[in-house]
C-alpha cells in the first residue's frame, strides 16, 4: 500500500490586495489592483504512511491550516505535488472526500436543532453508504464512543465534550482512510480532553486510519500521535518521533495547593511565579531539577490538597526548537 499522504515541495502563496482606504480606493483597486504576495507554505515535503498518527504543530500563522486545507482539497497549491491516498485532492476532490474524514474544532457538521442521529442518517446519503453497512458502522461507533444515550437529544443541548464525541463519530462513519483533526479538544475540560484523545487513538488503531492532527495543546500531540511535524513560517522545522520532542520542553509549571499556608522549597532551578496563602506556583527548569523531586520536597514539608503540572505553551516549545535550529542543532533538517 502506498503512503496515506505524500507532499513534495508544496508551496502556497496568497496574493493580498493592498488598497487605498474608502470607496474611491475600492474602485481604484478594481481597475488596477496592487497586490503583494504572502507565502504561507514553502518547500514543504513529507510523507505519512497508512495508519500513522502525526501531529502537525507550529505557532499561529505557521501554515498549519493552509497545509491542511490543501490536503483536504479546499485549496489549490501554488506549486508542488500533493497526493492523498494516491489521489490529487484539488483535482479529485470528490474521490478524496469519500476517503477522508475531517473535524474542524471550530465548525460543527452536526445540525444543532436535531439529534446527532439525524445528521448520521443524512451522512449515509452524503457518502453513498448502503443502509446495512451504515447501521453496523454506526452502532459500533456509538458503542465505542459511548454516545448511545445522546443520539436522541438535540445537539445544542449536549455538552461540548459530548458534542465533540458526536463530531468524531460523524467524521468516522464512512470509515475514512485519513482523518484530519483541527484543534479537536479546543475548549474542553481536562477529563473530556483525555476521553477524546484515548478514543481517537484507539479507533484510528482499529481502523488502520492515518491521523493528521493540529493543536495548540501539547497533550493532544503526546497522547494521540507518534510523530510530530513542526512547521514554522511555512517551512519544515522538524520531523521526528513525539517522545524526542520532550527534550525541548525545558520547564514545567507546577501549582501546589498546600495544607500549610506557606511553603518554601530549597531546590535549584525553581522560580516562584506566584505565592499566596496555601497556594504556590513554581516554574521548574526540568534540566536542573525533575518535577518528581519538587513534589517530593513539597511532601516533606506539607500535605498537598491539590497539584497540577502544566507544559509550557506550544509557542515556547517551538521557540526552543527554533533557537536550537539557529544554533545549528543536529535535530533539525534543512
Amino acid at each position: 500500500m502506498g503512503p496515506a499522504v505524500r507532499v513534495a515541495g508544496l508551496r502556497k502563496s496568497f496574493r493580498v490586495r493592498e488598497r487605498a482606504p474608502g470607496l474611491l480606493g475600492a474602485f481604484r483597486s478594481l481597475l488596477s489592483a496592487t497586490t503583494r504576495e504572502v507565502v504561507a507554505v514553502d518547500a514543504l515535503s513529507f510523507q505519512i504512511a497508512a495508519g500513522e498518527r502525526v501531529a502537525f504543530i507550529g505557532p499561529n500563522g505557521a501554515g498549519k491550516s493552509t497545509t491542511l486545507k490543501v490536503l483536504s482539497g479546499i485549496l489549490h497549491p501554488t506549486a508542488g505535488d500533493v497526493e492523498v491516498l494516491g489521489l490529487v485532492p484539488w483535482r479529485d476532490r470528490r474521490e478524496v472526500a469519500l476517503r477522508i474524514g475531517t473535524v474542524f474544532g471550530q465548525r460543527s457538521q452536526l445540525w444543532s436543532h436535531l439529534p446527532a442521529g439525524d445528521t448520521f442518517d443524512l451522512l449515509a446519503y452524503v457518502y453513498d453508504q448502503d443502509p446495512a453497512t451504515h447501521r453496523r458502522r454506526r452502532a459500533e461507533l456509538a458503542d465505542v464512543f459511548g454516545i448511545g444515550p445522546l443520539l436522541t437529544k438535540p445537539v445544542r443541548q449536549l455538552s461540548l465534550g459530548e458534542r465533540m464525541r458526536c463530531e468524531l463519530v460523524a467524521s468516522l462513519l464512512h470509515a475514512p482512510r485519513v482523518l484530519f483533526l483541527d484543534e479537536p479538544t479546543i475548549g474542553l475540560d481536562v477529563s473530556a480532553k483525555a476521553a477524546i484523545r484515548d478514543l481517537v487513538r484507539r479507533r484510528a488503531d482499529e481502523d488502520g486510519c492515518a491521523v493528521i492532527l493540529t493543536s495548540h495543546d501539547t497533550g493532544d500531540m503526546e497522547r494521540v500521535c507518534d510523530r510530530a511535524i513542526v512547521i514554522h513560517r511555512g517551512r519544515l522545522l522538524l520531523d521526528e518521533p513525539v517522545h524526542s520532542l520532550r527534550r525541548f520542553i525545558r520547564r514545567k509549571v507546577v501549582t501546589l495547593a498546600t495544607a500549610e499556608p506557606d511553603v518554601v522549597l530549597d531546590l535549584p532551578g525553581l522560580t516562584i511565579v506566584e505565592r499566596a496563602p496555601h497556594r504556590t506556583v513554581i516554574e521548574v527548569d526540568v534540566t536542573v531539577t525533575p518535577v518528581e523531586a519538587v513534589v517530593h520536597a513539597a511532601l516533606a514539608v506539607t500535605r498537598l490538597n491539590d497539584l497540577s503540572v502544566e507544559d509550557p505553551p506550544m509557542e515556547e516549545i517551538v521557540a526552543a526548537i527554533y533557537a536550537s535550529a539557529d544554533a545549528g542543532g543536529a535535530a533539525v533538517k534543512p
Binding site: F14, I74, R93, R107, Q109, W111, D121, L122, V126, D128
Partner: protein
C-alpha cells in the same frame, strides 16, 4: 456522481432540513402564521386599488391576484427548499464553504439545501389562498400553475446565488446581497405592464423580474406554448448561469486569494 445518488441525497437533505425547521415548533407556527397574515394584509392594498381603478396597462385585480400568488408561492418555495441561499454571501465570506468542500456532494446543492426558512410556509399557504381565489388551482389549471411557480422559484434561487456569489470576488459586502435580492423581488411583485421596451429588456435580463412575476402571470391568464417555453428556458438559463458563476467563484475560493482567507 450518478444522478440517482444525487437525487437521493437531495431528498435526504430536504428531509433533515424540514425536521430541523419543525423541531422549533413554537417559532415555526409563529413565523409561518405571521407571514401568511402579512401577505394577506399587504394584498388588500391591491384590492382597494382596483375598486378605484379598473386596470393598470391591461392588468386587473384577477392578474394582480395571480401575480401576488405566484411570487409569494415561488419565494416561499425557494425559502423552504433552498433557504441556504439567503446567507450564502456570509457563508462564503466566513470560510463556511470549507465544511461542504471536504464532503463528496456538490457544494452548491449542499449549501443551498442546508437551511430551510419557516416563514416560507406562510408564503406558500398565502399563495395557495390567492391562487385558489383566482381559480388557478382548478384541476385543469393546477399542472400549469405548479409549472410556473416552480420556474419562478428557480429563477429567484438562481438570482440569489448569482447575487451572493459576488462575495467570492468582493469583501465587506455586509447586507448588500440581501438588499439587492429584495429589490429584485420588489420589481417582481408590482405590475410590469407599465414599462417601456428598454426597461422591459432590463426586467428579462439584469433584473429577472420578468421571469419571476410577469411571464408566469401571462402564461396562466392567456396560455401560449411560446410564453411557456420562454419561461422554462429562462429558468434553465438562470439556473445554468448560477451554477457556472458559483463554480468560477469556487475556483477563486480554492486559490485562496480572496482577501481575509489567509490562515
Amino acid at each position: 456522481m450518478s444522478a440517482r445518488t444525487t437525487v437521493r441525497f437531495a431528498i435526504a437533505l430536504l428531509g433533515t432540513n424540514l425536521r430541523a425547521t419543525f423541531a422549533l415548533r413554537g417559532a415555526f407556527w409563529l413565523q409561518a402564521g405571521f407571514m401568511f397574515v402579512n401577505d394577506v394584509i399587504f394584498f388588500t392594498t391591491w384590492w382597494i386599488f382596483f375598486r378605484r381603478w379598473d386596470e393598470i396597462g391591461g392588468w386587473r385585480l384577477q392578474e394582480m391576484t395571480i401575480l401576488y400568488g405566484v411570487v409569494a408561492g415561488a419565494y416561499g418555495t425557494a425559502n423552504v427548499l433552498w433557504g441556504g441561499v439567503r446567507d450564502l454571501s456570509r457563508v462564503i465570506a466566513d470560510g463556511g464553504l470549507d465544511t461542504f468542500l471536504t464532503q463528496p456532494k456538490d457544494p452548491l446543492l449542499h449549501v443551498m439545501g442546508s437551511k430551510s426558512i419557516a416563514s416560507g410556509w406562510g408564503d406558500v399557504v398565502a399563495a395557495a389562498f390567492l391562487l385558489g381565489v383566482a381559480g388557478c388551482l382548478a384541476p385543469s389549471m393546477l399542472p400549469l400553475t405548479i409549472f410556473v411557480v416552480a420556474c419562478s422559484a428557480i429563477v429567484i434561487a438562481a438570482t440569489g446565488v448569482l447575487i451572493h456569489s459576488s462575495a467570492f470576488w468582493a469583501d465587506d459586502l455586509d447586507t448588500l446581497p440581501r438588499q439587492v435580492s429584495e429589490f429584485v423581488l420588489i420589481f417582481s411583485s408590482y405590475p410590469q405592464t407599465v414599462y417601456g421596451p428598454w426597461l422591459r429588456l432590463v426586467l428579462f435580463t439584469v433584473i429577472p423580474a420578468g421571469f419571476i412575476g410577469y411571464l408566469p402571470v401571462e402564461v396562466l391568464r392567456a396560455f401560449s406554448w411560446r410564453d411557456a417555453a420562454f419561461l422554462g428556458g429562462g429558468a434553465a438559463l438562470y439556473a445554468t448561469a448560477a451554477v457556472v458563476v458559483f463554480r468560477a467563484g469556487m475556483r477563486r475560493y480554492a486559490s485562496g486569494n480572496r482577501t481575509g482567507l489567509m490562515a
